[in-house]
Subunit: 457 residues, 2 copies
């Protein structure tokens, strides 16, 4: 990515930073570039919620333990990064499950979404945050509407979001204003609260132009200029299905070619899906440092196709994983997406070594964070936010995990989000033994259920 | 299938059969041919462990409730059928996770398996049964060795098995005898205890000739004759990868052609994998009533390919779902396999309506049972065994499930085995709130861990 991520709002710790908490675990996965496995490791967290030290407890260079040491019995790894989602759509989950993308969007989703109020979106986002955290996802990149309500739900649940409010010009959506009003709204929001806000920098703002086929070209150009000017992420659906942009393709060759000609690239660009790309499209993304959010589950269920992940990675395009919205994918278990990414990579290459377990884990953590331009999350390293996930190890999934290769394989191929017990975001424990420490799950479920039921009448 | 399944060992209930238990649930999925959704339904179970009545509690024709009525708050459905597995390999899970089939088999699995004792297999099978039950799988079709120990573990856990002991002639395997001795051993076992045995007919015996490429042709012919004579299932790996049977294919055109020429078909035949089939191969399976165990997860991870499920079903071949052994697939969550089967069906057809949620659920239940020749499990119908699974409904997966289509979609696409709470097999509750009622999970885990650790030294 040409531009780096947002400047952090609080300074990284210096040598004198106070360590508030040490977490010790029999298995630590720091998600460093080689995906090390640390046995009997510790993570020290400072009073600001950032990681102060990571290593083996027995390391002679380990700092003296702080007053508070918590001994865990499972696997400790960084919080997962879901790079493409529309979480509030949880209230629409299950509707139109057997339709292709354009019919599903125009006949089922958009009419239903037209009935959503801000309070409905808040209810969906709140329950969705609990589901994300329960699957070990601490950060999600969200393209949705009602930014106030989405942000409030994130802060209530204690998770982390890159919120790129939707900008769209399509039938029915003018109830929320013109694309220009939507764009100006996002810019005004960023100019008012900054790119990063909230405790532990929990909210990052960016721009969510929906897609080239739902916006006039001048909207794409203007949005890109506004995003670049502010160093903000531009998050857009790109080349998801063959049908959606057939008209654009006929005129411009492809959507990446069109976007390049419009000057959309050059800043921080995250292209969701990126299924139907030719070699030149891949080269365009690579030369502009654009990243891709690979959403294999959604692309499979909607029969869109399989993104050329090997070609993208080979060309140097940063690739992250996304679940897409729960109305299409349908759950928010990112490790399940990692597994599917591995399965599809092997099927398309007929190479059983394509995307190893270690590579898949890094896609869900370190590489995912890098793809969205964030070097302050996605790995257990001093200075990064202490976004941590603790998975149970006393499960048949991990029965043979004495060697590191088996442990990583078992985590990705046999384990998954169902094993998550505890989650911390910026050092705050937000999930404890599977339960939110902040939100009454039954109330959140009831709130979202009421919305879902109303949308079905 | 030309031959019907095994004759049941206990008579189906007559009108005077005593109803021992009624289970009532807000959602009942009987897995009838149209995949009905019954709201506020009940299942009556007789004293033998068979289903006596199924329907709406408010139905005027409903029998009077028995003394014991248990009110559940989730979804009640039939126990799932895993049509191809090698469950004891759970102790090998994670080994060689990035190798193609033949290297994985010959370099990693077979040498490790050569070190397994009967007690090791029992330990693996016991933990595996707990994992299967925890994912809602009540019946698994197992190809493995040490039949005594596998059976004992199944009876201890209380699950149900179709046990087809392996028959193989490949390097290293002669430690267990010649193929003829293995074959004779299975025949003697069936002749001694019968096709069905154990409480609730929990054990069905069949034959497990490993594959055409690991057995001489006379072994295939002899095994098929023995199986046909006894009405037993013949369970064989078929056309899994392009490489495994290249030599056979060169001579015989394909393995199905070879098996047909050897007279292997005609009885109850279950072909696992069946990935690389041409039209004539599909026609051969169809005209002999052979069934296929589709194992999409294993085929993906090992880069084998995608079975032509649509062509098989179109030709009338019964298709079931299998996880394959936990060393290749890697978990035993059959609903996850169902989801993957749907994803791959949609990707290969580019049709977002290929394999609906209802069809996928039936593959894991009713159709799976039919494919292995069993009409006494796989659905909630009077006379079938009361193999039942209770899934939690108070989960974000089901947030919008007031309409039946959403409910089925949510079960398959967002739910899955992680939601299983209670399981009954032949009317006995074997899992209660996620815990085995019969086996100490920590002990089973420790036993399998010890084996797994030894195999890694």
């Amino acid at each position: 990515m040409k531009s780096s991520g947002p400047t952090t709002s609080s300074a990284p710790p210096d040598a004198s930073g106070t360590v508030a908490l040490r977490l010790a675990a029999p298995v630590l996965l720091p998600c460093d570039p080689v995906c090390s496995v640390i046995r009997d490791g510790v993570v020290d967290v400072d009073a600001d919620g950032r990681i102060a030290w990571v290593g083996r407890e027995s390391d002679p260079g380990a700092p003296a333990p702080p007053a508070q040491v918590r001994r865990l019995d499972g696997v400790l790894l960084p919080g997962l990064v879901n790079a493409h989602c529309h979480t509030p759509m949880i209230v629409l989950r299950g509707l139109g499950g057997d339709l292709p993308l354009m019919r599903w969007l125009t006949e089922v989703m958009w009419p239903a979404e037209a009935r959503l109020t801000g309070e409905d979106v808040r209810a969906g986002m709140l329950l969705g945050c609990l589901e994300l955290l329960s699957a070990g996802v601490t950060t999600s990149v969200e393209m949705y509407f009602y930014a106030d309500e989405v942000s409030e739900a994130v802060l209530e649940a204690g998770s982390r979001v890159v919120l790129t409010p939707g900008i769209i010009s399509a039938p029915g959506w003018d109830r929320l204003g013109t694309w220009q009003q939507m764009l100006d709204g996002v810019s005004a929001r960023i100019d008012s609260v900054g790119l990063l806000s909230g405790p532990g920098d929990r909210i990052e703002l960016g721009y969510g132009p929906h897609a080239a086929y739902t916006l006039p070209t001048e909207a794409l150009t203007a949005t890109a200029a506004a995003a670049r000017e502010r160093g903000a992420l531009l998050h857009i659906h790109l080349s998801e299905t063959l049908g959606e942009d057939a008209a654009l393709r006929e005129v411009h060759g492809s959507v990446p070619r069109l976007l390049e000609s419009l000057g959309v690239f050059g800043g921080r660009v995250l292209a969701a899906h990126a299924v139907h790309l030719d070699d030149e499209d891949v080269a365009i993304l690579a030369r502009h440092g654009a990243a891709v959010a690979h959403c294999p589950g959604s692309n499979a269920k909607l029969a869109a196709g399989i993104a050329p992940v090997a070609a993208l990675r080979g060309a140097g395009v940063p690739v992250a994983l996304g679940t897409d919205g729960p109305a299409s994918s349908d759950d928010l278990d990112l490790l399940r997406q990692a597994r599917l990414a591995g399965q599809l990579a092997r099927l398309t290459s007929l190479d059983a070594a394509a995307l190893t377990a270690a590579e898949l884990l890094l896609l869900a953590t370190r590489h995912g964070a890098a793809a969205i331009g964030r070097s302050d999350i996605g790995a257990l390293e001093p200075g990064r936010w202490a976004d941590l996930v603790h998975l149970r190890l006393d499960d048949p999934a991990f029965v043979g995990s004495a060697d590191d290769a088996s442990l990583l394989s078992n985590l990705v191929w046999a384990g998954g989000g169902r094993l998550v017990r505890d989650v911390w975001v910026a050092g705050d424990q937000v999930l404890s033994d599977g339960r939110s420490t902040r939100v009454d799950r039954a109330e959140a479920l009831a709130g979202a259920r009421a919305v879902a039921a109303r949308l079905r009448t």
